[in-house]
């Protein structure tokens, strides 16, 4: 806030920053110390294009969740710069980060997405409630109809199926019209039909509402719903793929499991 270098987002957007909803430049992140140190991200540079559905793939331990956490401002990086829109996250204090998450980012987690004491509708409007803002009713209606939850709005999470719960989580993420939505294995706990419903819904929100979504997954058929796929292995981006299909993704995944060797 007080210091702004020439290349800083607020003052002078980096070249091409306008095209990316979020970006990471030379981001590194490790856990543990000395011998036990594990490098989760190794000098990653990546941009998430606006209005597209991006899947992040990789085997367990490849660093895909860490990348998402760092880009969403949930985790701090060791070095490098992370931007959301024009804002450099790596410079923000907790309070500002919290506000940014509230206003600019939507989240969908694998499980425990909802506050059990609130109804579906209350959960959907929760981020706006926390901010003390009134939801845009027209938009809210559209989101609710799109996820098909209108008859269930008064129900508590415990009265909803797993798929319905995840759709409520999607609706919550969309309702505040964030710049970007991060989804962490959103279908990991669902059966394939419910999963397909949720993924189809995410894709249509990108196509029809122009939403930007980043989804971490290890399921090739889930990745097939995305517009772009980033492949991570050993903390590096090893490949990208446009207009993926499940078969192509699966092939690619098989490919880099062999030479890497260090994947845990």
């Amino acid at each position: 806030m007080t210091y702004s270098a020439p290349s800083t987002a607020d003052a002078q957007p980096a070249p091409g920053a306008g095209d990316f909803a979020a970006s990471a430049e030379h981001v590194s992140k490790g856990y543990g110390r000395d011998d036990a140190r594990v490098v989760a991200l190794d000098d990653v540079t990546v941009g998430i294009p606006r209005g597209r559905f991006t899947a992040v793939m990789g085997p367990s331990g490849s660093g895909k969740s860490t990348l998402m956490h760092c880009m969403a401002g949930l985790d701090a990086v060791d070095s490098g710069v992370v931007r959301i829109g024009g804002t450099e996250l790596t410079r923000l204090k907790d309070k500002q980060l919290t506000r940014l998450r509230r206003d600019k980012i939507g989240f969908i987690f694998q499980a425990f997405n909802l506050v059990p004491t609130l109804t579906a509708l209350e959960n959907i409007t929760l981020p706006m409630g926390i901010a003390g803002r009134k939801p845009d009713q027209e938009w809210l209606d559209r989101v609710i109809d799109t996820v098909g939850l209108r008859p269930r709005l008064k129900h508590r999470p415990s009265e909803l199926s797993g798929g319905q719960q995840q759709r409520v989580a999607c609706a919550r993420a969309l309702a505040s019209r964030p710049d970007i939505i991060f989804a962490d294995e959103p279908t990991g706990n669902l059966d394939s039909r419910s999963g397909a419903e949720v993924l189809g819904f995410l894709r249509s929100s990108v196509r029809e509402m122009g939403q930007t979504i980043v989804m971490v997954t290890h399921d090739p058929s889930a990745a097939a719903y995305a517009d772009d796929v980033l492949f991570l292995s050993d903390g590096r981006i090893v490949d990208t793929m446009r207009e993926p299909t499940a078969e192509r993704v699966l092939e690619r995944m098989k490919g880099f499991d062999l030479p890497g060797g260090t994947a845990r």
Binding site: L74, D75, R99, G106, L114, T117, G129, I130
Partner: protein, 829 residues
């Protein structure tokens, strides 16, 4: 293996169990501190009273009239000539007549030294004995000389040679100090010594003694006692020195016993409150470990093993809590002892055993139900993702709670109604209150739902989403909210009861003064009565229309010791607004008046006679000349002044009622008339009311402070519940933080939940307290507690205090929740 599980769990849940330990610690500290402190005081008194009169072989005194009652009636003095008679008894050595009475020293500031509890004793100085020694100076001789004790001399800055004013039952006198008496530790009592003739004249009756004590030149105490007894006239008795010392001791022990029981009652309340906290913590720990316990069951642990593993934790917590509590109790007792003049602490085996028993048993019993629930967790719960403890329907619990509450109310009703006798009634009321507390606690989950909705409403309005979440969180587990609130409920219920009673006593006394006090001024003494000369002077003050001297005494009527009043009629009748039902209000020289109920109970009609045995042992048939309406100032019986004075060795004017026809002007004159005696005070009706209020406020304050500890323990319980809820909701809090809830909002949310729970507990407690207070007032409405008064202002203050407790209890959990790492919170298993 299960032992290892228990130990690992203890290590893993240190912080959670710590607060449970604190609840045990505080309760045990109170119990242990009480026992140690009262033991220590008891031993000091014991030492003191074993040394008092340790050389005495036989003591001659007046027989107590009216049964074996220790506090008997005014004892008849013993003629001095008896000493010479006793000298002729074989084996009697140095018989010494003792004179005892009221005498107090007036300090340089014009105020009486000592008093307000410990006695102010006047004695005849007969030289050093077992307990009193002449520390310096010489023995007094003649009416102008006096000894005072060294403590008094130090306190009032008097030295040998100074002239002091001495307040007595009669007019005060001045005397020169000829020496100081070393009395040892008398716990605040003061001693003034005169030569025997002066002591007899000032304290008793010339030529008489209160007691005669003698040593033995050989024969045993019992043999000597029998020999002495043979020589005694009617009305006197001889007892052995051992018996005398034992009686002194048992008097003190009775007082200490009462004091100990009084404190222990509060300690037990604190322990009872602690039990709620322990129950709650273990319930929550078991719920949080459902999966882990299910896993143990799945791999083959039996139900009993799971129960034992949890009970094992309880035993460990109870043991550690008791140990620390014992230490804290010793600290507490040392502190009290230091304020009480120091001296080493008595730590008896009983104290240690009781402390450990209380601590461990309470913890284990409180943890038993959660442990049983733990055993009921089905092994399959380990496999399920979304596990919830099987929640039994509230219905059984509610009906049981309802039954217990009603049963408790009935017990209280029976106790207050006097269904049993004496102590048994108190036990009935206590057991009833206990049942009501448990019953209401069981009902509390149901009550909590509407009340928490209402209490949470303002938070939801003002703080919006965090406020709503707080309200919902408090509603989420009604059992837990209820159990936490119930702990606070107990303390506040009792504090409210005491406050309602205090306010009602004050209001009732005020009403009594308004309705029944006809006098404009009352002159009374902080020492031993108003001296006759002062009364004379008051009567002569210009503007004083009349004065009424009031006496009181004990007599035996129909084999029972009863109190009576006496004094100047008809002036006293006017002063007490006496209303006659029949007959005359003037008892004449030998008449007696009774109130309606007493006359009816006695079955005496107007003109009939009533045989009354006075303190001197003489029985006189008194004629019933009048029957009056119930009068609190007059009491049930009024005996003609002439009879009272004739049969009382040292009559004391309890108070003088002054009639000025409503004029305020004579007050200064009355004040001047009593100025010579600093123990006397002049009060109008307002002063009397103030004095009563002050006394009640003092008692209410002391009891409230003693109850405060249980409120503190309950506050620890609120901290515990909120902290455990925060841990339990780690993931949810992580989610809220991830989607943008700020730290401050989070803290506010937690604080609001805490406040709602605390205020709910306070409201429950106050409702029960009001019910208790009102029933007690109703039960005693005929015993001078006719007015029910509810101190609304005070209750509002307590409600605010409860809210503050809520805020304070949330401090630490909220701070912890705010510090939680968002990422870790959402990825916690």
């Amino acid at each position: 293996m299960m032992t290892k599980v228990t130990l690992r769990n203890l290590a893993a849940h240190k912080v959670r169990l710590l607060l449970t330990g604190v609840a045990v610690l505080l309760g045990v500290a109170f119990v242990a501190g009480t026992l140690m402190f009262t033991d220590t005081m008891g031993k000091q008194f014991d030492d003191l009273f074993s040394s008092v009169g340790k050389n005495v072989a036989v003591d001659v005194r007046a027989k107590k009239i009216g049964g074996s009652d220790d506090d008997g009636m005014n004892a008849m003095p013993i003629p001095a000539s008896l000493v010479d008679t006793l000298k002729t008894v074989e084996g009697v050595k140095d018989p010494e007549g003792q004179v005892g009475g009221y005498a107090a020293v007036v300090g340089r500031d014009g105020k009486v030294v000592g008093g307000g509890g410990p006695p102010q004793m006047g004695v005849n100085w007969t030289g050093d004995d077992g307990s009193f020694k002449l520390a310096s100076g010489r023995a007094p001789s003649g009416p102008g000389e006096v000894l005072i004790d060294t403590d008094t001399a130090k306190k009032a800055h008097f030295a040998i040679g100074d002239t002091v004013k001495i307040v007595l039952s009669g007019p005060p006198r001045t005397a020169r100090i000829t020496g100081l008496i070393d009395t040892g530790n008398l716990m605040g009592a003061t001693v003034t010594g005169f030569d025997t003739a002066t002591a007899q004249r000032l304290l008793l009756k010339p030529g008489y003694f209160s007691e005669i004590q003698m040593q033995s030149s050989g024969p045993s105490e019992a043999v000597l006692r029998d020999r002495v007894a043979a020589k005694l006239p009617d009305g006197l008795e001889a007892i052995t020195g051992t018996k005398m010392r034992d009686e002194n001791k048992s008097d003190v022990e009775a007082v200490m016993g009462f004091f100990r029981t009084f404190l222990l009652a509060f300690a037990l309340i604190a322990v009872f409150v602690g039990a709620f906290i322990i129950f709650n913590t273990f319930t929550m720990l078991v719920a949080q470990r459902t999966r882990e316990l299910a896993l143990l069951r799945a791999i083959g642990a039996g139900r009993g093993q799971v129960t034992r593993a949890v009970i094992g934790e309880a035993v460990a917590v109870g043991f550690v809590g008791s140990t620390l509590g014992l230490a804290a109790g010793a600290g507490l007792a040392t502190l009290l002892q230091a304020m009480n003049g120091g001296g080493s602490l008595v730590l008896s085996a009983r104290t240690v055993i009781v402390s450990y028993l209380v601590g461990v048993i309470v913890t284990v019993v409180s943890a038993y139900f959660p442990a049983r629930r733990a055993a009921k967790i089905p092994p399959v719960a380990a496999m399920r993702d979304d596990v919830a403890m099987p929640q039994r329907s509230l219905r059984i619990r509610l009906s049981l709670g309802g039954v217990l509450t009603v049963l408790g109310a009935v017990l209280i009703g029976l106790g207050l109604g006097g269904a049993a006798s004496g102590t048994a009634n108190a036990v009935l009321v206590g057991a009833g209150a206990f049942a009501v507390f448990i019953g209401v606690t069981m009902l509390a989950p149901l009550i909590s739902i509407p009340v928490v909705k209402v209490l949470g409403w303002p938070f939801a309005r003002v703080m919006r989403v965090p406020g709503r979440l707080a309200q919902q969180n408090a509603l989420r587990n009604p059992r837990r909210t209820a159990a936490t609130a119930a702990a606070l409920m107990i303390g506040l219920a009792l504090i409210t009861t005491v406050n309602v009673l205090g306010a009602s006593i004050r209001a009732s006394v005020n009403a009594q003064i308004d309705e029944q006090l006809g006098a404009d001024y009352i002159v009374s003494s902080s020492g031993n009565g108003v001296d006759a000369e002062a009364a004379q002077r008051i009567a002569q003050v210009p503007g004083v229309r009349s004065i009424a001297r009031a006496y009181s005494g004990d007599a035996v009527i129909a084999g029972k010791k009863v109190g009576y009043s006496s004094g100047d009629m008809p002036a006293l009748g006017r002063a007490s607004k006496l209303e006659m039902v029949s007959g005359s209000e003037d008892p004449g020289k030998d008449g007696v008046l009774l109130d309606e109920d007493t006359a009816k109970a006695r079955g005496v009609a107007l003109g009939g006679t009533l045989p009354v045995t006075f303190a001197d042992g003489k029985t006189v048939p008194l004629r019933l000349v009048g029957i009056y309406k119930k009068n609190d100032l007059m009491g049930s019986r009024f005996v003609a002044a002439a009879e009272h004075l004739a049969h009382t060795p040292q009559p004391v004017i309890g108070m003088v009622a002054v009639d000025t026809g409503g004029a305020k002007a004579p007050r200064q004159g009355i004040e001047n008339a009593v100025k010579a005696n600093p123990a006397l005070k002049v009060q109008d009706q307002t002063d009397l009311k103030d004095e009563v209020s002050k006394g009640i406020d003092g008692v209410v304050a002391i009891i409230s402070i003693l109850l405060a500890l249980s409120v503190i323990i309950a506050a620890v319980g609120v901290i515990n519940t909120i902290a455990l809820s925060v841990i339990e909701r780690t993931r949810e809090i992580g989610l809220l933080r991830a989607i943008g809830m700020g730290r401050r909002q989070l803290r506010r949310m937690i604080r609001a939940e805490s406040i709602v729970i605390a205020v709910f507990g306070a409201l429950l407690g106050m409702a029960i307290g009001l019910a208790f207070g009102a029933s007690l007032q109703q039960a005693m409405s005929d015993d001078g507690l006719g007015v029910l008064s509810i101190p609304y202002g005070t209750l509002v203050v307590y409600l605010v205090v409860a809210a503050v407790i809520g805020v304070l209890a949330a401090l630490w959990p909220a701070w912890r929740a705010g510090r939680m790492d968002v990422l870790k919170a959402i990825s916690t298993d």
